[in-house]
């Protein structure tokens, strides 16, 4: 199995799985979920099997078809994409386990449609991760948007449809209105859209235009939820929790920041941007988003909405790290994707588990819930600590690297932002933990225990991953350092 085939298989596998799910869905629920799990496992295996070659410095690539001269659908695996795809595919397994528990526990309708669209979304994610040029990236980016629309509007009642409209509206508007012209501009300016280390634009564009193009990209990629195009993320929280967990903590939002990082590294080129004066604003936007999002999160009363705003903030960490435009910071950005993924998916799992078990969605309802659901709340605590960045959690590692990058760049603003946001994170997570463990539960709450077993299993796994990443992060760092090899520190 040559790497080329591997890539194509990785993209087609979920589609095959989707068909399998649709067919199996007509037979029985168990078969359907079996198919889902098997697909997830195979996908993970296929994707991870690419890792050794990447470690060895290989960059396998394949061109599928050429639409127009110079514009082709092509894939190319490089460290960032490898990391992203490995992350998404790996977490899909856990998420599938969790979904089984959640969807059954809630007796949701249209479960077949749910799993099918989920598989489709994963296929699109793989496409984004492996995209070899801007056009391919855009293609799968849009497919991802559309395939998640049914998931977001899953419940189908008026309020949900309205939120789904916001979701689709924001994402399509930004992508068609800004992202597409940016891409075409790039093609017209550079004559190609391929991702080349060191960028294709250096020397092709003058200074004010660089800033403008960068703006088109950053705001065009709405999935990165850089303010003010973040509105879709809270709206998307109407979706079932597994969706929020995998897609709106990992796949979709990471696709956004991943795309931005990738464009910065492979289209602009880090040094080119660093030298161009008109690209500095991006950093401040990101910093502002971090703080603003944290402050808004502080004022949320709904658990999932709070998590959503915290996600916005954490995403901008990645953007900001990328915007620092220094090797260590880039590495930090990559690692933070992983760290945040582990932490945030844990938090969402926990929130979902609480909802399944007790139908509680608001913060004030969580008093003393720790005693009823010890496993869940332990995992929640770990996730929260990772968000804040307390050792021994994954969050600490990534923040460390970002800070290091900030030092490289002598960027004091970065330091202040990180410190400030850390304080804010603590300010909105610690009270919950305190309430959950030590506050006295109100009388008259319905009696409940832990969530269904699959859910608990899933969130326990992710919590352990969060802890494990603190120690076993060597390979990732090694892999990502390849991206910034030969760049001046």
């Amino acid at each position: 199995m040559t790497p080329q085939n591997t890539i194509l298989i990785a993209i087609c596998l979920p589609l095959i799985g989707m068909l399998g799910i649709i067919i199996a869905g007509r037979v029985s629920a168990n078969l359907r979920e079996a198919v889902t799990l098997i697909t997830a496992l195979c996908l993970a295996y296929v994707v991870w099997s690419l890792l050794p070659e990447l470690m060895a410095g290989g960059r396998p690539g394949v061109e599928v078809t050429q639409l127009m001269p110079g514009i082709s659908i092509a894939f190319r695996v490089e460290p960032l994409g490898m990391l992203f795809s490995a992350l998404a595919s790996g977490l899909w397994i856990i998420n599938s386990i969790y979904s089984i528990g959640y969807m059954r526990g809630n007796k949701e309708k249209h479960q077949t449609r749910f799993y099918a669209c989920f598989a489709l979304a994963l296929s699109a994610t793989m496409g984004v991760a492996f995209a070899g040029n801007l056009f391919t990236l855009f293609l799968f980016y849009e497919i991802l948007t559309l395939s998640t629309y049914p998931l977001v509007s899953h419940k189908g009642d008026a309020a949900t449809v309205r939120s789904a409209r916001v979701y689709l509206g924001v994402l399509l508007t930004t992508s068609i209105g800004l992202f597409l012209p940016a891409i075409i501009w790039t093609y017209v300016a550079a004559g190609t859209g391929d991702f080349v280390l060191g960028g294709i634009l250096p020397g092709k564009l003058q200074d004010p235009e660089v800033g403008l193009l960068l703006g088109l990209f950053v705001f065009g990629i709405g999935k990165a939820a850089v303010m003010p195009v973040h509105r879709w993320l809270p709206a998307a929280m109407v979706a079932p929790t597994p969706v929020s967990a995998l897609l709106h903590a990992v796949a979709v939002v990471k696709a956004g920041v991943f795309a931005i990082t990738k464009i910065i590294t492979y289209t602009f080129g880090i040094e080119f941007l660093f030298d161009s004066s008109s690209s500095g604003w991006m950093f401040y936007i990101a910093a502002f988003t971090i703080l603003a999002a944290s402050i808004i999160a502080l004022r949320q009363t709904n658990l999932k909405r709070m998590l959503a705003y915290s996600t916005i903030g954490q995403l901008s960490y990645v953007v900001m790290a990328a915007a620092i435009l220094k090797p260590l910071a880039e590495v930090g950005a990559a690692i933070h994707m992983v760290a945040h993924a582990f932490g945030k998916i844990t938090l969402f799992f926990a929130a979902g588990a609480i909802y399944v078990a007790s139908k509680k969605t608001e913060l004030y309802q969580l008093k003393g819930i720790g005693r009823r659901m010890p496993w869940t709340m332990t995992a929640f605590t770990i996730g929260a600590l990772s968000m804040i960045g307390v050792p021994p959690t994954a969050g600490f590692v990534s923040k460390w690297y970002i800070l290091a990058g900030a030092f490289q760049a002598q960027n004091t603003w970065a330091l202040f932002t990180i410190i400030g946001s850390t304080a804010l994170n603590a300010a909105y997570f610690l009270p919950i933990i305190y309430m959950a463990w030590f506050a006295k539960e109100e009388s008259g709450g319905k009696d409940h225990g832990e969530a269904p077993f699959p859910a608990v299993l899933a969130l326990t796994l992710t919590a352990m991953l969060t802890l494990a990443f603190f120690i076993f992060n060597g390979p990732v760092i090694e892999l990502e350092s390849q991206v910034v090899q030969g760049l001046a520190p």
């Binding site: 078809t65 639409l67 127009m68 514009i71 659908i73 056009f135 855009f138 293609l139 849009e142 497919i143 559309l146 509007s153 189908g156 449809v161 409209r165 689709l168 509206g169 399509l172 508007t173 068609i176 209105g177 597409l180 012209p181 075409i184 501009w185 093609y187 017209v188």
Partner: protein
């Protein structure tokens, strides 16, 4: 002479001569079968022609064996081949699916004439496209117009009659304007053959009659092509026509007039008349931009689904015109590609609408709540084609939109304005398509006691063929692109 060399003539003769025979086929379904067969044959012919043209040389044919300026010549180049594919393909697809829907809308005893009129419409459009003779184009324009009046008048609602009457008046005025223009040019050059005109018009290019002729021809054709603001006849006609006829006409009728407009202007006027290209651009560009914006905006608030799509066609025609008004290789290529891709998308959409209409009489959007529950496949196809209309990557619509934006970026300092207009209208397209989608999938299902099933298989299969074509040409657009390249080259004068 071998068969291949006869193809341009056969393209017209086959449907035209089978029309009278169809009239006599009275037994149930026979007329439909005959018409479909004829349409398929002419589709095959157009494919063969496209292959031949891609082979390199323009196909020409001397009617009656008389040499060009004296007899009537036919010629099929890249542009004609592409438009032929659209026309015959649309007819074939629509006819394949037509039977159930038509049986529902047209009484049995009137069907033979109806199908025969359909073939005549096809023959007329094909005749326009292959012809290289200004007056001959007029004759076949009239055949196709008369046929389409008849077809639209088949609409069940009484409003159809008024719509078609308006269309008849407008169409006749347009055709007569064209006739006047041709007459004036003939008066100054003494020839009717387009190529011959181009070579002879040079000496008299600046005389008043020729200038006025250019005006008359442009306006007349713009009227028939429903270029904003001369489009008032179009939405009503499309809304009231029988559903399958809407599929056919929406896919190709106005395109052919656009084809004549582009061909006449690029091949006769621009090479010979100084400054004419600027006049042409300055005349069309504002109209195109206005049409794109206004029509899209209106479409966002239309209540009837067919009317909505019809209005959006006006905007799409605006795209085509915009591309043509760049007077650049990229621009022409983009607009030619859009002729093809828009036909795919709109045809598919109207097919899906026909499927829905087969089950639901009332086509107002709010009345179609929750249709997707009972007709999942139809609605899926509709969504697919809708995405293509919006221009989502991976669909045919994206290709032409990409080309169009590239062309506008290259078109000079104002490029950004055009890009902005195109993108804004694409977003409007998102809005009006999504109004339909939301109503279909999440709308409160209206009180329907009657049991509703999927559309008949015949309709459904064809609809899906169209939908998948949208995907296929989104990923593998080589063939239309090659033809469009050829066309653009010839039109911009690189081909000669």
């Amino acid at each position: 002479m071998d068969l291949i060399s006869h193809l341009p003539a056969l393209q017209v003769i086959v449907p035209m001569l089978s029309a009278p025979i169809i009239v006599l086929l009275h037994p149930r379904g026979l007329a439909w079968a005959g018409a479909t067969l004829a349409a398929l044959v002419s589709f095959a012919i157009s494919i063969a022609l496209a292959v031949a043209v891609l082979g390199g040389e323009t196909q020409t044919y001397a009617m009656g064996g008389w040499p060009a300026p004296f007899g009537i010549a036919l010629s099929v180049g890249g542009l004609s081949a592409l438009v032929l594919l659209v026309v015959t393909g649309a007819a074939a697809i629509a006819l394949l699916a037509a039977r159930p829907s038509i049986d529902q809308q047209i009484e049995l005893e009137r069907q033979p004439m109806f199908y025969s009129a359909w073939l005549l419409g096809l023959a007329g459009l094909a005749g326009i496209v292959v012809s290289a003779d200004a007056f001959n184009i007029f004759v076949f324009m009239e055949i196709s117009s008369l046929a389409s009046y008849v077809l639209i008048a088949g609409g069940p609602d009484r409003r159809a009659l008024l719509a078609v009457f308006k269309y008849l008046i407008m169409g006749t005025i347009g055709a007569t304007f064209y006739l006047i223009g041709v007459g004036l040019i003939y008066m100054m050059t003494g020839t009717l053959n387009l190529a011959d005109m181009e070579s002879r018009i040079g000496d008299v290019a600046q005389t008043r009659p020729v200038l006025v002729a250019a005006g008359f021809i442009t306006i007349g054709l713009a009227l028939k092509a429903a270029v904003f603001p001369l489009h008032v006849w179009l939405p009503n006609a499309y809304t009231q026509a029988p559903h399958m006829i809407t599929v056919f006409l929406a896919a190709c009728a106005t395109k052919v007039s656009i084809y004549v407009l582009i061909r006449f202007d690029y091949m006769v006027f621009q090479p010979t008349m100084a400054e004419h290209d600027n006049q042409f651009a300055l005349f069309l560009m504002p109209l195109a931009l206005l049409g794109i914006l206004v029509a899209s905006a209106v479409a966002m608030f239309e209540g009837n689904i067919k009317r909505l799509l019809g209005t959006s066609s006006v905007a799409q025609i605006g795209y085509i015109m915009l591309g043509a008004s760049f007077i650049s290789l990229a621009g022409v290529e983009a607009s030619v590609m859009h002729i093809f891709n828009h036909a795919l998308a709109k045809g598919g959409l109207f097919l899906a609408v026909a499927c829905i209409a087969y089950r639901f009489r009332d086509l107002r959007i709010q009345e179609l709540g929750g249709v997707a529950k009972t007709m999942p496949f139809t609605c899926a196809a509709l969504v697919l084609c809708g995405l293509s209309l919006i221009g989502i990557p991976g669909t045919a619509g994206f290709i032409s939109k990409w080309l169009l934006i590239t062309a506008s970026l290259e078109s000079g300092p104002f490029g950004w304005i055009f890009v902005a207009v195109i993108l804004v209208s694409s977003l409007m397209a998102v809005v009006y398509i999504w109004r339909i989608v939301e109503s279909l999938y999440f709308g409160g299902s209206a009180n329907r006691d009657t049991v509703i099933a999927e559309a008949p298989l015949q309709l459904l299969v064809v609809t899906w063929i169209a939908a998948l074509a949208n995907l296929y040409f989104g990923f593998f657009p080589e063939v239309p692109l090659a033809l469009a390249d050829n066309a653009a080259g010839v039109l911009m004068g690189y081909g000669k």
